[in-house]
Symmetry: C2
Subunit: 361 residues, 2 copies
């Protein structure tokens, strides 16, 4: 048990789970958010009420929006929607110190690269290490204004640092608290394993009438009709083709279902419908959801942009984004992560791999 504080940035499901869990492990925890009102009740109570797999009152040492509180921590866990990563990077930049480690939980596609690029743009002088997890460690849901229910803790979560030469340093620190994190060769491995970007936006869009019509249905069991899963397969093929061209070995969505959930299925549709872990998951009841507003700008759009860099066509991903723009009357392209925003403009494959490894072009 270390007495050094760990900072958790965020206030939602995942942030509460990390903060509460760490505190129950005896770690001094500081919980910070750009939206202090979301932490108000936790601040008053001085603790997070954790239930489920882990139970207890997880005390919080510092709670608020003063990012100066990060200064004496080594580990900073950022647990916010991916579209907020850039803004958090700008908020943290003035307070960062050499040697600090920032982990995005999860990074979605391009989290660590974008975060690093914003720190550069902000001329942050500190030499920090930015890493990203491939998925959230917890299956959890906020309860009331101060609680979180942890339904499960994943056995393994892939993590990569940017630059990748720092991944071992990150692991050394991170595994003091969480043995579940396992290294992958570079952030492009976590970036291209953004399975939510495959499953969510296309399914929401092809079920848009049903969602807005107020029908209650299960996202996976009912929403995954033959046409929907045929479209998902195309999105997934485009993702896998990009990875292959960039020499990043990844799993197809079907392989991923087997690897994570042990689902054995002849087709993606069968796998999604029959996955016991997906039973009972309700479809969204509005189109104003992270399945679109997070997974498009920090999933499909960086897929498309990486596709252009790799010379791999992504017509289906593009169609989903463009039709979402029309249907939601929202320009998703504007805030989408592109290779320019990730600092990868015009790189050759060799330059890209060198950059991912060493952080220099």
């Amino acid at each position: 048990m270390t007495q050094k504080p760990v900072v958790v940035v965020g206030g939602g499901n995942g942030a509460r789970a990390f903060a509460g869990h760490l505190s129950l492990k005896g770690v001094p925890v500081r919980l910070l958010s750009s939206f202090p009102e979301e932490l108000k009740a936790i601040k008053q109570q001085g603790a997070i009420t954790v239930s489920g797999t882990v139970e207890g009152q997880g005390k919080v040492q510092v709670c608020g929006d003063d990012f100066a509180a990060i200064s004496d921590a080594t580990l900073i866990l950022v647990v916010v929607p991916a579209f907020a990563h850039a803004s958090i990077a700008r908020s943290l930049a003035p307070y960062l110190r050499n040697g600090q480690i920032i982990i995005l939980n999860p990074g979605r596609t391009g989290g660590a690269l974008e975060f690093s690029q914003v720190l550069k743009d902000e001329k942050c002088p500190a030499k920090v290490c930015v890493a990203e997890a491939q998925t959230l460690l917890y299956a959890c849901r906020s309860e009331g204004s101060t609680g979180v229910r942890i339904n499960g803790i994943k056995k393994e979560v892939a993590v990569a640092a940017f630059p990748a030469v720092e991944t071992q340093t990150v692991l050394n620190e991170l595994t003091k608290y969480f043995p579940q994190f396992k290294p992958v060769p570079s952030v492009l491995h976590t970036d291209l394993m953004n399975i939510g970007a495959v499953f969510h936006p296309t399914t929401v869009l092809l079920n848009a009438g049903r969602i807005e019509g107020g029908e209650k249905f299960e996202f996976y069991r009912d929403g995954m009709t033959p046409a929907v899963t045929a479209a998902l397969e195309q999105v997934d093929k485009e993702r896998c083709a990009i990875a292959k061209t960039l020499d990043i070995p990844i799993l197809s969505a079907l392989e991923w279902l087997e690897s994570v959930y042990g689902v054995q299925a002849a087709s993606l549709r069968e796998g999604l419908i029959n996955n016991p872990a997906y039973q009972g998951i309700a479809a969204p009841t509005t189109l104003n959801v992270r399945y679109l507003f997070e997974d498009i700008p920090t999933g499909l759009i960086p897929f498309i942009s990486l596709g252009k860099l790799a010379g791999v066509p992504t017509p289906t991903c593009q169609a989903v984004v463009e039709l979402a723009c029309a249907a939601l009357s929202h320009n998703f392209w504007e805030k989408g992560r592109t290779v320019e925003k990730l600092g990868l403009t015009n790189m050759t494959k060799k330059e890209l791999h060198d950059y991912l490894l060493h952080g220099e072009k």
Copy 2:
């Protein structure tokens, strides 16, 4: 009353209505189809049973698949799905004679141009006139194997010939039978007024999960949710922008609803939902429908191709087509009407207008 036979090509709702109605007007009618089995029962009975607005037994003089029967007719009404126009052109080519008039009911986008181009490619020596109607004259449905119910006859249907200098000749012949047809300046006017291409494919796609899920709902009242109609508005904007750039004055979808149905509405959504004529129209129960398989290749794809010719971006139309390809596992592009298939490759606006008027580049 003329004793010259009129040929109707087709065997479905519209073809039965035209053939039956003409016959009841005392016109000798020949009904031809590439699929003679669809005419078998009518051939046996020797007549079409017409009910509704018009009633009676409409005798059919000739019924079958021998296209030689067109030779002594002046007027040939082609009443088949638009994706079959090219194939009908190839079937008719060997039998056509100078001065014959072929009317596509309706042409959708590019019908007359494609038909003419196929006749050229087939080296058809006859000088014929090809025209297209903007919509089907009748609101009708087949009944049983020999019947058709005519629920309504439109008061006005726009028609244009290719080349446009022949439109008056077409009108002179056509109005002997049907006073409802009114001339418009060129086939691009009928082509760009393909409202089905605006309303149908996008709505089917954004309701795909619901349709495949087996939900019964009304296409217009229930299917036109805010996101769906927002997307329709973008498709319609793209169509109107092409028309504007090509100097073709057309109505927006909302203006069209007012002009045809007298619907006064503040938004396209309100107009669609409140149009009394659209009440009770059931959504399709499968994705294997003409709303996709006709309206994409002979509607959205020629919009996109004309957009390229005009330098007008059509991102939403393209997204709908591309996502339909993925969802239906079908390459809609392959059989789609492009400016190349319409004989308009690389034309400037002036060349295009000259060609539409005179049929020569």
